[in-house]
């Protein structure tokens, strides 16, 4: 769970080498990614060729290039101003740009969905906080006394019975569709709670989200 960190957010940064090693490393990661992103945008918007080479604090090297790091470096070294402008080359480039446009669209869509889910998460948090204040049984278990725990336990066990009943009912109702499932009871066994479970039920709207990652975006 995220707590609001007063130190987070935009700070005025002194333009000199960062003192703390950890901060330095984090800054490097973030800014390198941001730099490449800006370069990528420039390429798309203005049709430029670039090559950016960056050495990390740990000594690794990162590079970004359009169309390719190597070809742009060679161009620099050879001082060769003439660009290929054959038809083949133009075709290759058009194809590449189409790909990139599609990838950009996919990314934008994912980021939008991520934003939606984040808002949802925040909304849930607010509901939870409000609930905690109003209803004693919604407080964390550690804050409850023995009496309350026992009452809560009774209530939960009752709820459990209801849920199991509901679940069994669903099985019975749909047994004509899924005969192989009706043979197993749900009962009080261990319930699956992992990604495998989600893919089994196409009816659940939530599982659509999980499927997104497996549908071959590339």
């Amino acid at each position: 769970m995220m707590q609001k960190n007063p130190i987070q957010g935009r700070q005025k940064l002194a333009m000199k080498k960062i003192a703390k090693k950890n901060n330095l490393q984090v800054t490097f990661s973030k800014r390198r990614a941001g730099l490449f992103k800006k370069a990528s945008e420039l390429c798309t918007l203005c049709g430029v060729d670039v090559a950016i080479i960056v050495f990390s604090p740990a000594g690794k090297v990162f590079s970004f290039g359009h169309p390719q790091v190597e070809s742009t470096i060679d161009r620099f070294f050879s001082r060769n101003p003439c660009l290929h402008s054959s038809n083949t080359h133009k075709l290759v480039e058009a194809h590449r740009n189409a790909n990139i446009q599609e990838l950009n669209a996919q990314l934008a869509q994912l980021l939008d969905m991520l934003e939606v889910e984040k808002r949802k998460g925040e909304a849930f948090e607010e509901i939870r906080e409000a609930g905690r204040r109003k209803c004693w049984w919604q407080a964390p278990i550690d804050e409850l006394g023995l009496n309350e725990l026992q009452q809560l336990r009774i209530a939960l066990e009752e709820l459990k019975r209801n849920v199991t009943k509901q679940g069994n009912q669903v099985l019975v109702d749909s047994s004509h569709c899924w005969p192989f499932l009706a043979a197993n009871g749900i009962g009080g066994g261990v319930f699956p709670f992992g990604n495998e479970g989600y893919e089994m039920d196409p009816a659940s709207s939530i599982t659509q989200m999980y499927k997104f990652g497996h549908q071959g975006l590339f």
Binding site: L13, C46, V48, I100, G213
Partner: protein, 244 residues
């Protein structure tokens, strides 16, 4: 400067494109420079604008030569390991965004289940849960029951080890049965605190019963289905407090 969302596509208007090119090149160079200074690392940038034979570079032509030769000295594998072009860079970002999305969805799902569980304790009807929801909800309830049992054990042990100092029935407001559930847990607390506790508990029990119409938790029974008579007394006392 007003911020407008820029469509990520080649700018066809010559004038606009040239203006954007100029601004963004400048910004990019600035970012490389900052990265180099802040992190104390070597870097270089080469930008060829269309229809310009000479590139713009950072830090300087000499500086670029230096960095490039350092780069070329490295074994080819190291050179290529973190090398990306637009396509591969975008794919990386897509993969990361997807991972974050799945994680967030999972989180939200857990929160949703938790809310469902908490809200249904007060007897609101469980609407048609599909099998997946029932399973998950059941699992969550199991987890909570486990935690509760653990804590009950801990607290019960604590109160037992404190002996008779814990119970102080004389100060209770509500007549409570002498079963285990009636014992005060926190040993060593003042009588006043114990009083407040009891009153709060009474209020809480009432809260738990409200705002639904009947006493049961999601069931059709009018009375909570507890076998233990004493417990029944506890509930009914709270709900219908005796007038003294």
């Amino acid at each position: 400067m007003t911020r407008q969302k820029v469509k990520l596509a080649y700018i066809t208007n010559d004038f606009a494109r040239k203006a954007t090119n100029k601004k963004r090149k400048k910004g990019l160079m600035k970012k490389v420079s900052e990265l180099s200074t802040l992190c104390g690392i070597e870097a270089c940038a080469i930008i060829y604008s269309p229809n310009e034979s000479q590139p713009e570079v950072w830090p300087s032509p000499v500086g670029v030569q230096r960095v490039l030769s350092e780069f070329k000295k490295l074994p080819e594998m190291k050179q290529n390991k973190n090398m990306v072009d637009q396509e591969s860079f975008l794919r990386q970002r897509i993969a990361k965004a997807n991972e974050q999305l799945q994680k967030q969805c999972k989180n939200n799902r857990e929160k949703e289940m938790k809310q469902l569980m908490l809200q249904n304790l007060t007897g609101k009807g469980l609407h048609n849960l599909n099998m997946m929801d029932s399973n998950e909800l059941g699992w969550l309830i199991e987890q909570n029951l486990k935690d509760i049992n653990k804590r009950v054990d801990t607290l019960t042990k604590a109160s037992h080890s404190q002996g008779s100092a814990a119970a102080s029935s004389g100060t209770m407001v509500t007549p409570e049965p002498k079963s285990k559930s009636g014992e005060k847990v926190q040993a060593g607390r003042s009588d006043l605190e114990v009083n407040m506790d009891t009153m709060q508990r009474q209020q809480r029990i009432t809260d738990l019963m409200n705002p639904q119409d009947h006493l049961g938790f999601g069931g059709d029974e009018m009375m909570p289905p507890f076998g233990d008579n004493n417990r029944n007394a506890l509930w009914s006392n709270a709900f219908f407090p005796r007038e003294k």
